[in-house]
Protein backbone atom coordinates (compact mmCIF):
# COMPACT_ATOMS: atom_id res chain seq x y z
CA UNK A 1 0.00 0.00 0.00
CA UNK A 2 1.14 3.53 -0.68
CA UNK A 3 2.61 5.43 2.23
CA UNK A 4 0.16 8.23 1.72
CA UNK A 5 -3.06 8.49 -0.21
CA UNK A 6 -3.49 12.24 0.10
CA UNK A 7 -6.41 13.80 -1.70
CA UNK A 8 -6.88 16.72 0.58
CA UNK A 9 -3.31 17.61 1.35
CA UNK A 10 -1.70 20.25 -0.86
CA UNK A 11 1.79 18.85 -0.19
CA UNK A 12 2.54 16.63 -3.16
CA UNK A 13 6.30 16.49 -3.46
CA UNK A 14 9.25 16.77 -1.14
CA UNK A 15 10.12 20.13 -2.72
CA UNK A 16 6.63 21.50 -2.21
CA UNK A 17 6.68 20.23 1.35
CA UNK A 18 9.88 22.12 2.12
CA UNK A 19 8.50 25.32 0.55
CA UNK A 20 5.28 24.93 2.52
CA UNK A 21 7.13 24.42 5.80
CA UNK A 22 9.39 27.40 5.08
CA UNK A 23 6.35 29.56 4.42
CA UNK A 24 4.71 28.32 7.62
CA UNK A 25 7.81 29.03 9.66
CA UNK A 26 8.08 32.49 8.17
CA UNK A 27 4.44 33.19 9.10
CA UNK A 28 4.99 31.79 12.57
CA UNK A 29 7.96 34.14 13.07
CA UNK A 30 5.79 37.07 11.98
CA UNK A 31 3.14 36.12 14.52
CA UNK A 32 5.80 35.72 17.20
CA UNK A 33 7.01 39.22 16.33
CA UNK A 34 3.49 40.57 16.97
CA UNK A 35 1.95 40.47 13.49
CA UNK A 36 -1.42 38.97 14.35
CA UNK A 37 -2.64 39.18 10.75
CA UNK A 38 -0.05 36.58 9.75
CA UNK A 39 -1.91 34.08 11.89
CA UNK A 40 -4.98 34.52 9.68
CA UNK A 41 -2.96 33.09 6.79
CA UNK A 42 -2.08 30.03 8.80
CA UNK A 43 -5.72 29.60 9.83
CA UNK A 44 -6.86 29.94 6.23
CA UNK A 45 -4.32 27.36 5.11
CA UNK A 46 -5.11 24.70 7.68
CA UNK A 47 -8.68 25.25 8.85
CA UNK A 48 -10.30 22.73 6.44
CA UNK A 49 -7.76 20.01 7.14
CA UNK A 50 -7.78 20.46 10.89
CA UNK A 51 -11.57 20.59 10.93
CA UNK A 52 -11.72 17.42 8.86
CA UNK A 53 -9.47 15.56 11.33
CA UNK A 54 -11.49 16.67 14.33
CA UNK A 55 -14.81 16.04 12.58
CA UNK A 56 -13.82 12.51 11.60
CA UNK A 57 -12.66 11.82 15.14
CA UNK A 58 -15.90 13.06 16.71
CA UNK A 59 -18.53 12.51 13.97
CA UNK A 60 -20.15 15.68 15.24
CA UNK A 61 -19.99 18.92 13.27
CA UNK A 62 -20.79 21.27 16.17
CA UNK A 63 -18.16 19.70 18.39
CA UNK A 64 -15.70 19.76 15.51
CA UNK A 65 -16.39 23.45 14.95
CA UNK A 66 -15.73 24.32 18.61
CA UNK A 67 -12.74 22.02 18.97
CA UNK A 68 -11.08 23.29 15.79
CA UNK A 69 -11.48 26.87 16.96
CA UNK A 70 -10.12 25.92 20.38
CA UNK A 71 -7.12 24.30 18.72
CA UNK A 72 -6.37 27.45 16.73
CA UNK A 73 -6.75 29.62 19.84
CA UNK A 74 -4.53 27.31 21.85
CA UNK A 75 -1.91 27.32 19.10
CA UNK A 76 -2.11 31.11 18.97
CA UNK A 77 -1.62 31.41 22.73
CA UNK A 78 1.33 29.03 22.67
CA UNK A 79 2.93 30.17 19.45
CA UNK A 80 5.84 31.80 21.28
CA UNK A 81 6.75 28.36 22.59
CA UNK A 82 6.87 26.90 19.07
CA UNK A 83 10.54 26.52 18.20
CA UNK A 84 10.16 24.79 14.85
CA UNK A 85 11.46 21.38 15.92
CA UNK A 86 8.55 19.84 14.01
CA UNK A 87 6.59 21.39 11.17
CA UNK A 88 3.85 23.84 12.13
CA UNK A 89 1.12 21.61 10.77
CA UNK A 90 2.37 18.61 12.80
CA UNK A 91 2.33 20.79 15.90
CA UNK A 92 -1.12 22.16 15.07
CA UNK A 93 -2.53 18.70 14.31
CA UNK A 94 -1.18 17.44 17.63
CA UNK A 95 -3.05 20.21 19.45
CA UNK A 96 -6.22 19.44 17.50
CA UNK A 97 -6.04 15.67 17.95
CA UNK A 98 -5.26 15.93 21.67
CA UNK A 99 -8.13 18.37 22.16
CA UNK A 100 -10.55 16.09 20.32
CA UNK A 101 -9.49 13.00 22.28
CA UNK A 102 -9.77 14.84 25.59
CA UNK A 103 -13.25 15.95 24.56
CA UNK A 104 -14.24 12.39 23.64
CA UNK A 105 -12.98 11.11 26.99
CA UNK A 106 -14.89 13.81 28.88
CA UNK A 107 -18.11 13.07 27.01
CA UNK A 108 -17.93 9.31 26.85
CA UNK A 109 -21.64 8.90 27.62
CA UNK A 110 -23.20 11.85 25.80
CA UNK A 111 -22.36 10.87 22.22
CA UNK A 112 -24.45 11.45 19.11
CA UNK A 113 -23.80 12.02 15.45
CA UNK A 114 -24.19 15.33 13.69
CA UNK A 115 -22.92 14.69 10.20
CA UNK A 116 -21.89 16.93 7.35
CA UNK A 117 -23.64 16.49 4.03
CA UNK A 118 -21.84 14.36 1.52
CA UNK A 119 -21.10 16.53 -1.49
CA UNK A 120 -22.90 15.90 -4.78
CA UNK A 121 -19.79 14.62 -6.46
CA UNK A 122 -19.56 11.53 -4.30
CA UNK A 123 -22.84 10.07 -5.55
CA UNK A 124 -21.36 9.71 -9.02
CA UNK A 125 -18.38 7.69 -7.81
CA UNK A 126 -18.21 4.24 -9.35
CA UNK A 127 -17.94 2.59 -5.99
CA UNK A 128 -21.12 4.29 -4.78
CA UNK A 129 -22.92 3.53 -8.03
CA UNK A 130 -21.94 -0.12 -7.71
CA UNK A 131 -22.96 -0.40 -4.08
CA UNK A 132 -26.21 1.47 -4.64
CA UNK A 133 -27.06 -0.74 -7.62
CA UNK A 134 -26.80 -3.82 -5.42
CA UNK A 135 -28.81 -2.19 -2.66
CA UNK A 136 -32.58 -2.42 -2.57
CA UNK A 137 -32.94 1.16 -1.38
CA UNK A 138 -32.98 4.36 -3.43
CA UNK A 139 -29.60 5.99 -3.96
CA UNK A 140 -30.06 9.02 -1.63
CA UNK A 141 -31.32 6.77 1.16
CA UNK A 142 -28.48 4.35 0.52
CA UNK A 143 -25.95 7.19 0.69
CA UNK A 144 -27.27 8.30 4.07
CA UNK A 145 -27.21 4.75 5.35
CA UNK A 146 -23.64 4.21 4.15
CA UNK A 147 -22.48 7.47 5.72
CA UNK A 148 -24.02 6.55 9.06
CA UNK A 149 -22.53 3.06 8.99
CA UNK A 150 -19.09 4.46 8.20
CA UNK A 151 -19.24 6.89 11.09
CA UNK A 152 -20.64 4.22 13.38
CA UNK A 153 -17.81 1.88 12.47
CA UNK A 154 -15.22 4.58 13.12
CA UNK A 155 -16.74 5.47 16.48
CA UNK A 156 -16.52 1.84 17.57
CA UNK A 157 -12.73 2.03 17.37
CA UNK A 158 -10.66 3.15 20.34
CA UNK A 159 -9.42 6.75 20.23
CA UNK A 160 -5.89 5.66 19.38
CA UNK A 161 -6.97 3.41 16.53
CA UNK A 162 -9.47 5.91 15.20
CA UNK A 163 -6.83 8.64 15.16
CA UNK A 164 -4.47 6.55 13.06
CA UNK A 165 -7.18 5.55 10.59
CA UNK A 166 -8.44 9.10 10.22
CA UNK A 167 -4.99 10.57 9.72
CA UNK A 168 -3.83 7.90 7.30
CA UNK A 169 -6.87 6.85 5.28
CA UNK A 170 -8.91 10.02 5.30
CA UNK A 171 -6.34 12.80 5.70
CA UNK A 172 -3.63 11.04 3.75
CA UNK A 173 -0.73 11.66 6.14
CA UNK A 174 2.31 9.42 6.10
CA UNK A 175 3.17 6.93 8.83
CA UNK A 176 6.05 9.17 9.84
CA UNK A 177 3.85 12.25 10.15
CA UNK A 178 1.29 10.33 12.19
CA UNK A 179 4.04 9.03 14.45
CA UNK A 180 5.16 12.62 15.09
CA UNK A 181 1.64 13.83 15.78
CA UNK A 182 0.77 10.97 18.11
CA UNK A 183 4.28 10.85 19.62
CA UNK A 184 4.63 7.15 18.89
CA UNK A 185 6.88 5.09 16.64
CA UNK A 186 6.20 4.33 13.01
CA UNK A 187 5.90 0.67 13.98
CA UNK A 188 3.17 1.47 16.47
CA UNK A 189 1.32 3.48 13.83
CA UNK A 190 1.48 0.57 11.38
CA UNK A 191 0.35 -1.90 14.00
CA UNK A 192 -2.59 0.28 15.08
CA UNK A 193 -3.59 0.81 11.48
CA UNK A 194 -3.56 -2.91 10.76
CA UNK A 195 -5.69 -3.72 13.80
CA UNK A 196 -8.11 -0.84 13.13
CA UNK A 197 -8.69 -1.99 9.56
CA UNK A 198 -9.51 -5.48 10.75
CA UNK A 199 -12.10 -4.00 13.09
CA UNK A 200 -13.55 -1.84 10.34
CA UNK A 201 -13.66 -4.79 7.97
CA UNK A 202 -15.83 -6.64 10.47
CA UNK A 203 -18.11 -3.66 11.07
CA UNK A 204 -18.58 -2.90 7.37
CA UNK A 205 -18.81 -6.51 6.19
CA UNK A 206 -22.26 -5.99 4.63
CA UNK A 207 -20.91 -3.39 2.23
CA UNK A 208 -17.68 -5.16 1.42
CA UNK A 209 -19.44 -8.38 0.40
CA UNK A 210 -21.96 -6.78 -1.91
Amino acid sequence: MAETGALTRPVTTAGDSVVSEDTDMSLVRQVQAGDVAAYDKLVLKYRERLYSVVYNLTSNREDANDLTQEAFIKAFRSINKFKGKSSFFTWLYRIGVNGAISHLKRNRVRRFFSLENLDEEVSSRDIVEALAAKSRTEKPAFMRELQEKLNEALQKLSHKHRTVVVLFEIEGLSHQEIAEITKTSVGTVRSRLHYAKQQLQASLRDYLER
Binding site: A6, L7, Y51, F76, L118, I127, A130, L150
Partner: protein, 177 residues
Protein backbone atom coordinates in the same frame (compact mmCIF):
# COMPACT_ATOMS: atom_id res chain seq x y z
CA UNK B 1 -2.97 7.39 -4.86
CA UNK B 2 -5.78 4.93 -5.43
CA UNK B 3 -8.52 5.96 -7.85
CA UNK B 4 -11.91 6.39 -6.21
CA UNK B 5 -13.62 5.74 -9.53
CA UNK B 6 -12.40 2.20 -9.67
CA UNK B 7 -13.63 -0.56 -11.91
CA UNK B 8 -16.97 -2.06 -10.83
CA UNK B 9 -15.54 -5.58 -11.05
CA UNK B 10 -12.96 -4.97 -8.33
CA UNK B 11 -14.05 -5.78 -4.79
CA UNK B 12 -14.87 -2.85 -2.53
CA UNK B 13 -12.28 -2.38 0.21
CA UNK B 14 -12.34 -0.68 3.59
CA UNK B 15 -10.02 1.95 2.18
CA UNK B 16 -12.50 2.68 -0.63
CA UNK B 17 -15.27 3.25 1.87
CA UNK B 18 -13.16 5.39 4.20
CA UNK B 19 -12.10 7.58 1.32
CA UNK B 20 -15.77 8.53 0.82
CA UNK B 21 -15.57 10.38 4.11
CA UNK B 22 -13.35 12.95 2.43
CA UNK B 23 -16.52 14.21 0.82
CA UNK B 24 -18.19 15.11 4.10
CA UNK B 25 -17.34 18.79 3.91
CA UNK B 26 -19.01 21.91 5.30
CA UNK B 27 -20.24 24.62 2.93
CA UNK B 28 -18.96 28.17 2.43
CA UNK B 29 -21.47 29.65 4.88
CA UNK B 30 -20.00 27.45 7.59
CA UNK B 31 -16.52 28.83 6.98
CA UNK B 32 -17.74 32.42 7.00
CA UNK B 33 -19.29 31.81 10.43
CA UNK B 34 -16.21 29.90 11.56
CA UNK B 35 -13.90 32.80 10.65
CA UNK B 36 -16.12 35.33 12.42
CA UNK B 37 -16.23 33.30 15.62
CA UNK B 38 -12.52 32.58 15.55
CA UNK B 39 -11.70 36.26 15.09
CA UNK B 40 -13.81 37.18 18.10
CA UNK B 41 -12.17 34.48 20.21
CA UNK B 42 -8.69 35.52 19.07
CA UNK B 43 -9.41 39.14 19.99
CA UNK B 44 -10.66 38.03 23.41
CA UNK B 45 -7.44 36.08 23.85
CA UNK B 46 -5.41 39.15 22.95
CA UNK B 47 -7.30 41.26 25.49
CA UNK B 48 -6.78 38.64 28.18
CA UNK B 49 -3.06 38.51 27.46
CA UNK B 50 -2.63 42.20 28.37
CA UNK B 51 -2.35 42.43 32.18
CA UNK B 52 -3.68 45.99 32.57
CA UNK B 53 -6.70 45.25 30.45
CA UNK B 54 -7.19 41.93 32.16
CA UNK B 55 -7.34 43.56 35.57
CA UNK B 56 -9.82 46.12 34.27
CA UNK B 57 -12.09 43.36 32.96
CA UNK B 58 -11.72 41.50 36.22
CA UNK B 59 -12.75 44.55 38.26
CA UNK B 60 -15.68 45.29 35.95
CA UNK B 61 -16.76 41.68 36.03
CA UNK B 62 -16.61 41.56 39.81
CA UNK B 63 -18.66 44.76 40.19
CA UNK B 64 -21.09 43.98 37.41
CA UNK B 65 -23.71 42.55 39.77
CA UNK B 66 -23.34 45.41 42.25
CA UNK B 67 -23.69 48.24 39.73
CA UNK B 68 -27.53 48.55 39.86
CA UNK B 69 -27.39 48.48 43.64
CA UNK B 70 -24.70 51.18 43.70
CA UNK B 71 -26.78 53.30 41.31
CA UNK B 72 -29.83 52.99 43.52
CA UNK B 73 -27.78 53.89 46.60
CA UNK B 74 -26.35 56.96 44.88
CA UNK B 75 -29.84 58.06 43.87
CA UNK B 76 -31.17 57.62 47.39
CA UNK B 77 -28.23 59.55 48.81
CA UNK B 78 -28.77 62.41 46.39
CA UNK B 79 -32.46 62.54 47.33
CA UNK B 80 -31.59 62.66 51.01
CA UNK B 81 -29.01 65.41 50.55
CA UNK B 82 -31.27 67.51 48.37
CA UNK B 83 -34.11 67.14 50.87
CA UNK B 84 -31.89 68.62 53.54
CA UNK B 85 -30.99 71.52 51.28
CA UNK B 86 -34.65 72.27 50.69
CA UNK B 87 -35.11 72.97 54.37
CA UNK B 88 -32.43 75.68 54.32
CA UNK B 89 -33.76 78.88 52.75
CA UNK B 90 -31.22 80.75 50.71
CA UNK B 91 -31.67 84.09 48.97
CA UNK B 92 -29.45 83.27 46.02
CA UNK B 93 -32.06 81.41 43.95
CA UNK B 94 -34.15 84.55 43.67
CA UNK B 95 -31.52 85.96 41.39
CA UNK B 96 -31.57 82.95 39.17
CA UNK B 97 -35.31 82.71 38.73
CA UNK B 98 -35.50 86.01 36.88
CA UNK B 99 -33.03 84.85 34.34
CA UNK B 100 -34.98 81.79 33.31
CA UNK B 101 -38.18 81.55 31.32
CA UNK B 102 -41.05 79.81 33.02
CA UNK B 103 -40.85 76.17 32.06
CA UNK B 104 -43.91 74.25 31.01
CA UNK B 105 -44.00 70.72 32.23
CA UNK B 106 -45.83 68.43 29.88
CA UNK B 107 -45.20 64.78 29.20
CA UNK B 108 -44.62 65.55 25.51
CA UNK B 109 -41.65 67.79 26.09
CA UNK B 110 -40.05 65.81 28.84
CA UNK B 111 -38.02 63.42 26.73
CA UNK B 112 -36.88 66.09 24.32
CA UNK B 113 -35.97 68.37 27.17
CA UNK B 114 -33.47 65.88 28.48
CA UNK B 115 -31.36 66.40 25.41
CA UNK B 116 -31.35 70.18 25.61
CA UNK B 117 -28.02 71.87 26.11
CA UNK B 118 -27.04 73.33 29.44
CA UNK B 119 -28.54 76.79 29.90
CA UNK B 120 -32.15 76.08 28.98
CA UNK B 121 -34.48 74.63 31.60
CA UNK B 122 -35.54 71.01 31.30
CA UNK B 123 -37.88 68.92 33.38
CA UNK B 124 -38.32 65.23 33.64
CA UNK B 125 -41.32 63.31 34.84
CA UNK B 126 -40.77 60.05 33.09
CA UNK B 127 -42.89 57.17 34.27
CA UNK B 128 -43.96 58.83 37.50
CA UNK B 129 -47.63 59.82 37.84
CA UNK B 130 -48.57 63.09 36.22
CA UNK B 131 -47.87 65.96 38.58
CA UNK B 132 -48.51 69.64 38.41
CA UNK B 133 -45.73 72.06 38.94
CA UNK B 134 -45.92 74.12 42.08
CA UNK B 135 -44.32 77.50 42.35
CA UNK B 136 -43.83 80.30 44.78
CA UNK B 137 -42.15 83.64 44.33
CA UNK B 138 -38.80 82.31 45.31
CA UNK B 139 -38.73 78.92 43.77
CA UNK B 140 -40.42 76.63 41.37
CA UNK B 141 -41.09 72.99 42.01
CA UNK B 142 -41.07 70.48 39.24
CA UNK B 143 -41.59 66.74 39.31
CA UNK B 144 -38.38 64.95 38.44
CA UNK B 145 -37.42 61.35 38.19
CA UNK B 146 -33.75 61.92 38.79
CA UNK B 147 -31.45 64.28 40.59
CA UNK B 148 -30.10 67.24 38.64
CA UNK B 149 -26.73 68.01 40.09
CA UNK B 150 -25.07 71.44 39.80
CA UNK B 151 -22.45 69.92 37.55
CA UNK B 152 -25.12 68.62 35.22
CA UNK B 153 -27.17 71.82 35.17
CA UNK B 154 -25.21 74.85 36.34
CA UNK B 155 -28.27 77.06 36.04
CA UNK B 156 -30.43 74.80 38.17
CA UNK B 157 -29.91 73.94 41.73
CA UNK B 158 -31.56 70.68 42.58
CA UNK B 159 -32.85 70.77 46.11
CA UNK B 160 -35.83 68.44 46.33
CA UNK B 161 -35.82 64.75 46.96
CA UNK B 162 -38.34 63.31 49.31
CA UNK B 163 -41.47 62.63 47.35
CA UNK B 164 -44.02 63.37 49.99
CA UNK B 165 -42.13 65.71 52.26
CA UNK B 166 -40.56 68.07 49.77
CA UNK B 167 -43.62 68.86 47.75
CA UNK B 168 -46.85 67.98 49.48
CA UNK B 169 -49.19 67.83 46.54
CA UNK B 170 -47.15 67.71 43.41
CA UNK B 171 -44.27 65.45 43.48
CA UNK B 172 -40.85 64.34 44.14
CA UNK B 173 -38.34 67.05 43.71
CA UNK B 174 -38.07 70.77 43.64
CA UNK B 175 -35.76 73.00 41.72
CA UNK B 176 -34.98 76.50 42.96
CA UNK B 177 -34.05 78.92 40.21
Amino acid sequence: MPDENQNNDQPVTVEDLLRLKRHEQPDEAFWAQFDRELHQKTLRTLVKQRPSTRSLWAVLGRWQAALPLAGAAAFALSLAVSNDLLKVPTPAPQVAVAALPTPVVTPQVQEAAMAQPVGSPSFVVSALPSQEAFSTENYRQVPASRAMTPAHRPDVQFVGGSIAAAIPHTGYAAGIY
